[in-house]
Amino acid sequence: MGKTHFMINKYYLLVLLFTASFASAQTSVITGHVTDGNSREPLPAAYVHFDGTSKGGTTDAFGNYRIQNITPGSYKIKVKYIGFKEYEKEVDLPAGQTVILNISLEQSTQNLKGVNILGKLNTSNESSSRQIEKNANNTTNVISARAMERSPDINAANALARVSAVTIQRNSGSDEAYAIIRGLEPRYNNTLINGVKVTSPDPVSRFVSLSIVPSDLLDRIEVSKTLTPEMEGDAIGGTTNLVFKDAPEYEYFRANASIGYSAIFFNRKYDDFNQGAVQRQSPVDRFGPSYMAAPGYFSRANLDFTKKNAPVTSLAGFTYGKRFLNNKIGLIVSDSYQNQYYGTNSQFNIASLNPKDNNKPQITDVANRTYSTQQLNNGLSAHLDFTVDDRNKIAVDNVFLYTYIAQARLSIDTSIIGGNGGRVGPGTGTVFNDNRSYIQNQYVENLKVSGKHVIAQHFTFDWAGIYSNATANSPDRADITLNHLINPDFTSTPSYFDAISRIWEKNGNKDLSGLANLSYKTMFGENNSFELKAGGLYRHSTRFNQQNEYTLRPVPEANGVKSSFTDIYSSNWIVYNVSGSLTSDKANYTAYENIAAGYGEFFLELGKLDVIGGIRVEGTQQGYDTHPVVLDVQSNARKTYTDVLPSLQLKYKLTDKSNLRASYGQSISRPALFELVPALNRGQSSDVIGNPFVKHSEAENFDIRYELFPKNEEQFFVGGFYKNIKNPIEFGLQNNYNGTQPLLLPQNYGTAKITGAEIVYSRYFGNLGVSANYTYTYSNINTPKQTGEVDAKGNPIIKLQGRPLQGQTGDVLNLSLLYKNDKQKAFVQLAYTYTSRTLTYVYQGYGYDFYQQPQSFLSLSGEKQISRHVAFTGKVNNMLNTPTTVKINNLVQAKDLYNVSFNVGFRYSL
């Protein structure tokens, strides 16, 4: 905590310094605005500079620029803007005067594909995003930093939610978020940072949660829905590439700071616990493996939950970039700090079939949970590029993400059916209070060294070496269960101390990857070109998981009866397993994954037709080793498989402004390492047991898309897709509940067929912009289900039931309205997202599955520029206070409420 306060102070200091430097006297000023010559729209982030000097400035979001402190004289003004012809004009700047120069740029029809010179595009604004989409070799959607700045997007997850056919999956009680592309859940997609995979400290996902990547750091997010052979093949739904900001050609500085609050804390307090009482080391870590933990070892204050007013959320960030040595070396450093306090009010019900009522589901347990979470993210990214010459460029990227989570979960649970409770009517029965305190430190370090070289006239070579290491450390997850009985006459017994569990958990993923590509490109004729590309990748990943659990049991009274509970400080316990579970629990394992891949790819441009195709081969080795109490056949496993993935994509340029695309490709999805290890993974609301027999998924994908780019910042896409996925991995509910949590097993249920259509439209009408996209997806897979009936021999009758793929959403609608007023220098954006119901768990009973209900989200953001450098910003998220509800037919199984969150602040840009 001390560290973070220090960082805030540092930001303020920086901001003050920069503000102060502009207070000095000036000599000459040039100002004006830059517009698109055709549409008359202002062009943001255009670089206006004096030829032959480093002096210059960029236009703001409204196309305005201002260059100050100019020594009077005669200059040549230049403006470079991607997609437009370079602008040049001679100007005289007399002393003490302000010259107004409005610049109108002419669109260039020049093809953007560089041939032999490593060009750099300014991609962080909308119009160049559209250019990338238009010129990309595969089906892509791009969201730019500018689009993110103009919307209520604190992190990459929120921004992504507005890309066509992308939905964001969230877990109850946390802000974690993973992208679902085209209705396919996160496992079928991969998330890249600067084009490379970043390992995840999350035990459940392969990828880093998008919520810990601040949108400030991002230059753009590219979502590729079809794969070219040079891309990794484990993305059936698509690839999300988070591209961090690159060093600009001008000095760049931006800083922002804001504060926020979650409206959930208007109605309730924030549950706090003493985070200092959490012991970072387990007894065994501290005193060695033979240490027998005494009752006194375990702290008490982290199980003493107190109520307080929720602290204010604070967000701050800066980005600084500059090029040195004649633009040869570029540096950009960015840091984003978020200290958020949020809460969830959650109702969680365990449901079962009721054979006495035609097998309708019924609620067996009701739990009300309140989560209070502090999540501190700090993302530090540094990019250094060295342009040796026109033909050689080397870059070093480092991304370091730190996340600290402190969470209190208070749960009140009543068994309605079964259990030891003896509920005999509403409002009676045994009530369990299950309170948990939890902290976690996550570190993600990602270092990439890469180079691009034009090695001969037609040959380019690029390479990268990546080191990625993610660890999560959750010391002393402490959980206490108390219970009391509400008698049939509604009197209550005192609370009894049931049990305490203390778990020290640690896991880590480390990846070492190397990749290289060689390409040969040549032109023939006026409009034809040919490119051959070959390359390979090798990745060695390792994972470890450590879990050490101690069970504390109450000391009974003299007559053997459990003692009643008054407070944590006066409770007596014995340590039931004095040496912990480190050496006996299967959840302590190591696992590995080695991937060797190679590909050959060709790209042929024949006038209006582009053909790209090739074959990728990926060899996989996966394995694990547990340290079991009992040796069994599943204690150790190794899987190997090799996939051959051909693909072919066609793009036909109907006109300058429209394309027609069609593609075929094969892709795969590998099970996460933890999904193979037959050990229990504890989740927040469900637990998972790994299954070494689960197979990787293999998919065939067909895509077609029509694209129209009528004008700058405008687009219209319509497309369709079909996928056939063999062995999709889905989580099925197991017969046994693990305590009060559903127990899930990853399984293959057969082959899923997915088909869908999408439409994207965005346009500006004067000051008003509309961006809309809609995706419809249909999927079907058959699962054997219990009908609840028995045959003549008394065996249960099993019937096949068709259903959608798990995590697949039928309708996804994103709609945003943007209003910009150039005079008032103000933006307002209203963003609406709708998702239809989505299958969460596969249930055993015929006719019943767990579905997340349709959701509508509305958010509003605004920005008003108050001076040349400063703008006020405001965001309101989740305005409809949309619940996340899971139902089985009409029965509510879970309902989470997060409430509205507010954010106000300012942004400073140079």
Partner: protein, 409 residues
């Protein structure tokens, strides 16, 4: 002449009879050849993958977890003695066949002879379990995750046959038999479950019979029947008759009272001829049980004291007789029941009972639950309560009956 003839005749008859009486039945005798035991297990330390037979009169020391693989059998002959060290457990994936005899039982215990010091039989995926005349004591030590282990846990559609055996001082459920077909006859279960755990926990479609058992001072319920809430079929359906269940259900605290017998979650019970004394709750049939098909009656409910007072919180005063059929539950007193209305009325007249109400885990069971001749339990039973199995039942109540079918301990 006539008289002489009569004498003569009788003499002849006597002679003939005498001669014929010399005839001996055919006797076949083999020369003494001792058939060796198949796969005998050498006495001494054992651990790891084990199959074969534990021999009469031999002592075995278990030094680490033992696994009986699928297809393998571990048998015990009468008088085999097994001492378990290091909190080890038996993992039964194959067949367990412990066959003691009345005169020469089999023994399983830990080296420390303290409650909760070894792991018992973890037989989730066993192929068959037969335990006869075997002592199994002090089970329930912590598992891999630190939780108390059940003494015998089975989760498979197999036959589990446990008869005439003794169990004491477990830490959680003594028997957790899920989905099995059970034959649990004439066993004695004492002072098990630390602050939780049922004596006989039958769930997930278990079927069979629980009869003539004595359950004394169990932490949770004596016998618990439930169907899996999310797998409604098959239903658990068990006959629970002629058990003597005493002083159970106290150690879990008043938030989770234990019952002599509880029936919940779509389970069917047929509960007859049992004697319930000094239990926290008596027969509790929850509203979620399959009440329509559950039948009960001819049970004796008794308490040696009127109230129990909690040691720490004296405001907790529990009236034992109020809880014979607990308030709010669906079970109602039956005309055939013997329900005590005051101390002394319907006292089952145990031969020896120390009057225990709540007692600690591991409390010595020095009682003798045979009935004195004046017991009202004699003749109060239902001799045939289950129409599907008319052979079940007894004219007497409790585990010790006059017809000799009862408990032999």
């Amino acid at each position: 002449m006539k008289i002489r003839n009569i004498y003569l005749l009788s003499a002849i008859v006597t002679i003939i009879t005498g001669v014929f009486s010399c005839k001996k039945a055919e006797v076949t005798t083999f020369t003494k050849i001792k058939i060796p035991t198949a796969s005998p297990i050498a006495p001494g330390n054992i651990s790891g993958f084990v199959k074969g037979t534990l021999l009469t009169g031999q002592t075995y020391t278990v030094t680490g977890d033992i696994t009986i693989k699928k297809g393998d059998t571990l048998s015990a002959q009468p008088g085999a003695v097994v001492i378990v060290k290091n909190n080890a457990q038996f993992n039964v994936q194959g067949v367990l066949n412990l066959l003691g005899s009345q005169d020469n039982p089999v023994f399983f215990n830990s080296d420390t002879n303290k409650p909760g010091t070894w792991g018992g039989f973890q037989a989730d995926s066993a192929q068959a379990i037969t335990i006869k005349w075997t002592h199994i004591d002090n089970t329930g030590g912590p598992d891999a995750g630190g939780g108390a282990r059940r003494t015998i846990i089975v989760n498979a559609r197999i036959n589990v046959d446990i008869e005439d055996s003794w169990f004491s001082n477990g830490q959680d459920d003594l028997m957790g038999l899920f989905g099995c077909h059970v034959t649990l006859l004439r066993n004695t279960i004492s002072s098990s479950g630390s602050t939780d755990g049922e004596g006989i926990n039958l769930k997930s479609g278990a079927t069979g019979v629980v009869a003539y058992n004595v359950i004394f001072s169990q932490a949770g319920s004596g016998v618990k029947l439930e169907t899996n809430p999310i797998v409604p079929l098959p239903q658990t359906e068990v006959d629970v008759h002629n058990n003597t269940i005493v002083s159970v259900g106290w150690r879990r605290g008043s938030a989770e009272p234990g019952r002599s017998v509880s029936i919940g979650v779509n389970a069917i019970g047929h509960v007859y001829n049992n004697i319930f004394v000094n239990c926290y709750h008596g027969l509790e049939i929850f509203p979620d049980a399959d009440v329509t098909h559950t039948t009960y009656g001819n049970n004796l409910f008794y308490a040696t004291v009127t109230t129990f007072t909690d040691l720490r919180d004296a405001t907790i005063q529990i009236n034992l007789r109020d809880n014979f059929y607990p308030a709010g539950a669906v079970g109602k007193p039956q005309p055939t029941d013997l329900i005590s209305a005051q101390v002394g009325q319907f006292d089952p007249m145990f031969v020896k009972f120390d009057g225990t109400v709540a007692a600690p885990n591991g409390y010595p069971n020095t009682n003798d639950f045979h009935l004195q001749p004046t017991s009202p339990a004699y003749g109060a039973g239902n001799a045939s309560f289950d129409s599907k199995r008319p052979e079940l039942g007894n004219l007497d109540l409790g585990a010790y009956t006059t017809d000799g079918k009862g408990n032999k301990h």
